[in-house]
């Protein structure tokens, strides 16, 4: 007797979960980076992903904001993509080879770079 109830509950819970995959989900997390060039790199890489509708990164606050269709992509997908172009975020570290190819002013792992002149880029 109890098993079917549990099963139904599970099913219900499952559908609720499925429904909670929002079409316009706002997400935000920290992404390491320095300057306007970083901003361009992060935003360009992410907005081209399937399911990412809006992407914005602030060099001042290091906050990355996006609006995504959860049915088509996840926060992890985005973080992975960002790491692939050279930027670290929580749990996702950019490969050394990619990081090494970043322009000097974008090498955010070196604290000295934040004091560099980033000009207008």
């Amino acid at each position: 007797m109890k098993k079917p109830i549990l099963f139904t509950l599970l099913l219900l819970f499952g559908t609720v979960l499925a429904h909670s995959q929002e079409k316009n989900k706002s997400v935000s997390f920290e992404v390491k980076g320095n300057c306007g060039m970083c901003k361009n790199r992060i935003e360009t890489a992410t907005i081209k992903m399937k399911g990412v509708k809006f992407a914005q990164w602030s060099p001042e606050t290091k906050e990355f904001k996006a609006i995504i269709d959860e049915r088509k992509c996840s926060v992890q997908d985005i973080q992975k993509k960002i790491s692939e172009v050279g930027h670290d975020s929580d749990g996702f570290t950019a490969p050394e080879g990619v990081y090494a190819k970043l322009p000097e002013c974008c090498k955010y792992r070196n604290p000295e770079t934040t004091r560099m002149n980033h000009g207008n880029h």
């Binding site: 316009n24 706002s26 935003e43 360009t44 907005i47 081209k48 990412v52 509708k53 809006f54 992407a55 609006i67």
Partner: protein
Amino acid sequence: MEIRSLLLLFLLALGTSSQAQIQVIGKVIEFNEKGKTIGVPDANIYWLSSTLGTVTDSLGNFKIPYHNTLRKLVISSVGYRPDTIPVNRPNLGNIVLYTRVVLDEVVVEKEVASLQKSLFKIQNVVSVDSREMLKAACCNLSESFETNPTVDVNISDAVLGAKQIQMLGLNSPYLLFTQENMPSIRGASQVFGLSFIPGSWIDGIQITKGAGTVINGYESISGHINSELVKPLSDKTFFLNLYSNNYERYEFNSRLNQTIGDNLGVGMYMHANLRDGIIDANGDSFLDTPLGHQVNFMNRWQYMNPQSGWVSFATIQYLSDTKKMGQTDFDFKTDKFSNTNWGSEINTSRMDISAKVGYVLPDLPYESYGLQLAYTSHNQDSYYGLSIYDIQHDSFYTNFIFNSIIGSTQHKFKTGINFNYDTFSELVNSTMFHRDDKLIGTFFEYTYDNLEGLSFEAGLRADSHNNLGNFLTPRFHLRYGLWDKASLRASFGRGKRGANIFAENQQFFASSRQIAISERGGNYYGLNPEKAWNYGISFIQKLYLWNRVLDFSIDFYRTHFKDQVIVDWENPRLISFYNLEGTSYSNSLQLDLNYEIFKDLQLRATYKYFHVVSDYATESLEKPLQPSFRIFLNTSYETPKRNEGSQWRFDLTGNWLGRQRLPDTSTNPQQFRLPSHSPAYGLINAQVTKVFSNTFEMYVGGENIGNFTQERPILSNAAPFGSYFDSTIVYGPVLESAYYVGFRYKI
């Protein structure tokens, strides 16, 4: 001179050899709140990396023995930023110390130029901010384009003296004017509308060359000029400006803003002017500049709530304007409609009410809704000698715009619906004209950005209009980033409009010309609407040359008329209006170079070439009164800002206009004939502004400093009621050089 410098060298040498024989003297000063210099007493003076030193006396003077090994003096005092100076002469003169300012954050910024050409916008847009407006001699929108090479300013005629603007070799009716993205300066206000917007109310202007966008309508052919007014929530609390010139022209501008709570602002703006000088320097018995007065009042409400996403404006403007022109002996009380003297009077009253509501979804920053509503009532009563011209134009405009994306912000779109209702009632001498224009239109504009340099904007409108019919209007703009800091742009688009032939050409009333309309069965005075395609290509390169920004741009635009109302001035007895048969086009080429030659000295240089040709009834002719080229040079210099923002600003503008074809006067008697072309001529304007502080500044300036005037602006001026009277052939200034002075006070 040489002996003195030799002596100095000798003294220095002596000092070096005999050690501490020579005394180095100097004075340490600071600027007080009023900008005056005062001595700093008890300041420490010591040789760098030594303990040898002294202090200044009560007046800031000091004396210290010279040391040849210690080359630098350190000057310091509590509360001031220390300074280190090399000692290369015995008298160091005044040394300025600045107070130490404690800041949480130091922001070093370079102000962007007041005239900006965008590298990234898809359309070819020049942005002009309010600082540029201050360089213009005076106080309304028409005069604010005089330091701007994109737009050409010319004078409509010798009597009215209205300033008309042109783009790409085409008159202002082919331009779309918007005020905060709602159409303005159209219909009845076409000729004088620019003088109804005071310069001090303008926050910025965006000038788009070429087809423009479909959102604001189908009428623009050569370009789009949008003016943004100051906004109560961001404007200064109080602004006052007074201006006067040597021709008894006085202007008054004031703005008062109040914030109510966090989100609501209200502004009261006032403009008044008076032109009181009876000037006839050329001795032709006609006033060189109109007499007049204007009262212009605006009340704006602004609501902005970033949390909820709601933005709203409500604006009401009332204007009353009077212009009086004609012979100096004309008595406006008794001579009206009499043959004794020739005079003219134009009385305009106008009311504008508009509202805008915008909503941006707080969770979806790319999605927004906008609604624009505007009502205008424009009434002009006027007479020109024995001719009468009255126009009443009422207009209702509404536009709903929805912004969103397709998939991601790489693909944006704007779509909406637009409804207009205009009524025109005109009295031309004894003939009445009435017309209603009803429009419903929808538009869709798609913007794509591949984020790697390619972006384009493709728009389409579908309109249904009672007089223009059902038609589509396509517009397309593309931008491609060729290489670093270089953009290539291309555009094409179509425009269509019905010509308000009397309102747009009302200067002809100040002549003996008869009106001749060759009716075609169209809905605009029997004429068919105007239709044209515009194509353009432009290139811009910005680069750093010796650490300063240089930008270079070149563009070429061609406007090709499918149908046009030709305004034919070629018979000096007539003004003829007829539809184009054959070809009509305008080609325009512009080259620009902007560079900061040395620190704070900006140079703008422009060369423009025009070729504007239409098939007239008899032959193909160049557009009359169109300079074949224009060279524009502008230099501005600003001294570094001192305490309280005090500085000097200098601005010098030179224009050289190529010769212009004059309308044919060969059938006139000998004494009323003009040559086939005008001479080329130059104009120079200059302005000096002294900023005393962030709240107060004064300016003086001159217009037409070279004092060029047209030799004979009015034909048959001695017999204004005779058949050869004509004031419409004006290729240059009628008024001699003007000098002005004014101040601005703002808190």
